[in-house]
């Protein structure tokens, strides 16, 4: 057994297909609802952030599955590559997809880039991880949906010109890039170990996604107004609180023991 995971397929109570469904459908529905309803009331742009949280949960699950093959210190790298692929695909997709098909074109482009990188990793570099190709497709797709979702929160639309003007030019894209990446990589990295559990890892993904929603909400104040910013940040804080509470319950369930303070376990206890 390695410190970086079991070195074998991860055991899951939610299947990869379920997670994919949550990520793709939840992500796209959230993004489209956010963009379509935002003109009626700017407050509703937070729906894009809900889509981003769905995508973060999916991405974290994909990282969990691929990193269980003993990636160890490669976990942060895989999160960074997810958003690296996602950012290229998102801007490409939004620029050629127009005002309606943008997110879908971006998602398909991301999946294509992911497939190529997955093939390169396994066939050329020879990493030999059985699910590498599929995982890279999933991670890249999730990365692109996270970026577009958080852009929708900030601008209220995913139109290319608006995203360039209100997200890329002021530099918020740097925050979206790194928060999206950390949202996808941190859950598994934080729970790494032989007794890692899927539900505990995914509760961290929701918790970090909610924090990304809070910061994107604050950033939306410039375009969407103070009311929208406040409501989005408040929704983020509520989701964060509920997810963190759930996570702590999972920790208490899974840990050897949770103690206020105490000495180290004795030799007899360790036997």
């Amino acid at each position: 057994m390695s410190a970086g995971g079991a070195g074998e397929e991860a055991t899951s109570s939610y299947s990869p297909q379920t997670m994919m469904g949550i990520g793709i459908i939840g992500g796209l529905v959230g993004i489209y609802l956010g963009a379509l309803l935002s003109p009626t009331h700017p407050v509703l742009s937070f729906l894009g952030g809900i889509g981003a949280i769905c995508a973060i949960v999916w991405g974290a699950d994909a990282v969990r599955r691929v990193a269980s093959y003993g990636l160890g210190t490669g976990v942060p790298s895989i999160g960074m590559i997810a958003l690296g692929m996602g950012i290229v695909a998102s801007l490409f997709g939004l620029s050629i997809g127009g005002s309606f098909a943008g997110p879908i074109v971006a998602f398909i482009s991301a999946a294509t880039i992911g497939a190529i990188i997955g093939l390169l990793a396994n066939k050329v570099i020879g990493m030999g991880i059985p699910i590498m190709e599929q995982a890279m497709v999933e991670i890249a797709g999730a990365g692109s949906l996270v970026i577009i979702g958080l852009c929708t929160v900030i601008t209220g639309t995913f139109e290319y010109s608006a995203v360039i003007e209100n997200v890329v030019a002021p530099g918020y894209i740097a925050m979206i890039f790194i928060f999206g990446g950390m949202g996808i990589l941190h859950p598994f990295n934080a729970n790494l170990g032989p007794d890692e559990k899927q539900d505990r890892t995914l509760s961290v993904a929701i918790e970090k996604g909610a924090l990304a929603l809070v910061v994107a909400g604050i950033a939306s104040a410039i375009n969407e107004g103070l009311e929208a910013a406040f409501v989005t940040a408040l929704i983020g804080v509520i989701i964060w609180y509920l997810a963190f509470k759930k996570y702590f319950e999972f920790v208490k369930r899974d840990a050897h023991k949770v103690v206020g303070t105490g000495m180290l376990p004795t030799e007899e206890e360790l036997q």
Binding site: A3, H186, A190, L192, K208, I218, A219, V251, L264
Partner: protein, 303 residues
């Protein structure tokens, strides 16, 4: 801009960078982030459960980039929407970033300990309650200093990149320097100080980190106390020099005045001097200290 004002701003950036480097390294040491973390993670698996904070947020560069980018994003909003003074906005931005970093620290220490259930590693709540505010405090200092550097670069020196992007880049840089400079002092010298100095890490000693302190059981405070003596300050000097020298060449040989190529030459010269200087330090240190030798007087006394 007047060259003298430019140099003054540069000096201020250098000072902020030195503080940022030192606090970044100590922040990672309190929580055992980055390279030394692998041994903290491995210890319970080798039957060495411990009371050391296992802050596996990610590598140092991404986590510092995250803090800095969040701080800068919030600061920009506070300056634009609420018309706050830059100093106040930077402080508020750094505060929000430090709070979010605190949540990252807590989820990692709890998660990593819970995932070692079969090795009977407990989750010590007093360690989480006492260490997390210290981690957030250091994170606040680091983020604030990075924001000061980025703000001066953007507003006073007229760098074309927006504030969040500059903060993101400097966040990655301070994390990378903290990871490469400061970690050596904590990992090799502190975690394995019960073994011969300079002996390297034998595979059979993996995970056998020092778990007992001068008084009681060792924790992250003891490690930051040790690292504050050398690892933290040396990281500060390294990052301060990077920021100062990196910008000094273009301030003195300003590309706007047609001296762009001279700044490239000056940069290459500085790198060359540093390489030679480092090599000399290394050779001198090896000659002076060399491999560990047993004290002859002690040997005779025991005989």
């Amino acid at each position: 801009m007047e060259p003298l004002i430019g140099m003054g701003v540069l000096a201020l950036m250098g000072v902020a960078a030195t503080i940022a480097g030192a606090s970044e390294d100590l922040e990672s040491d309190v929580g055992s982030q980055s390279n030394p973390n692998s041994q903290v993670q491995l210890a319970p698996q080798m039957m060495f459960p411990h009371r050391i904070y296992n802050k596996a947020v990610s590598g140092e560069p991404p986590s510092n980039a995250l803090m800095s980018a969040i701080g800068a994003t919030c600061a920009v909003v506070f300056m634009d929407v609420f018309s706050l003074s830059p100093l106040f906005a930077l402080v508020l931005g750094a505060f929000i970033a430090a709070c979010i970093h605190g949540t990252f620290a807590i989820t990692s220490v709890m998660g990593r300990s819970a995932s070692q259930q079969r090795f009977k590693q407990p989750v010590y709540m007093d360690i989480i309650r006492s260490h997390t505010p210290v981690i957030m405090g250091y994170a606040f200092i680091t983020t604030f200093c990075i924001l000061v550097i980025s703000y001066l670069l953007n507003v006073v020196l007229g760098h074309p990149f927006p504030l969040p992007l500059l903060a993101f880049i400097w966040g990655i840089t301070v994390g990378a320097i903290g990871s490469s400079t400061g970690d050596v002092h904590y990992g090799a010298e502190r975690e394995f100080q019960q073994f011969e100095f300079g002996a390297g890490l034998n595979a059979s000693n993996s995970g056998n980190i020092v778990r007992k302190a001068e008084s009681g059981l060792r924790n992250g405070y003891d490690n930051s106390w040790f690292c504050a003596k050398f690892g933290g300050p040396v990281t500060g000097i390294a990052f301060g020099m990077t920021v100062f020298l990196g910008n000094w060449i273009t301030t003195v040989f300003d590309p706007v005045r047609g001296l762009g190529w001279l700044s490239v030459v000056a940069g290459a010269l500085i790198v060359l001097i540093l390489i030679i200087w480092n090599r000399k330090i290394e050779v001198t240190a090896r000659k002076a200290f060399g491999p560990y030798k047993e004290d002859k007087v002690e040997e005779e006394a025991t005989a």
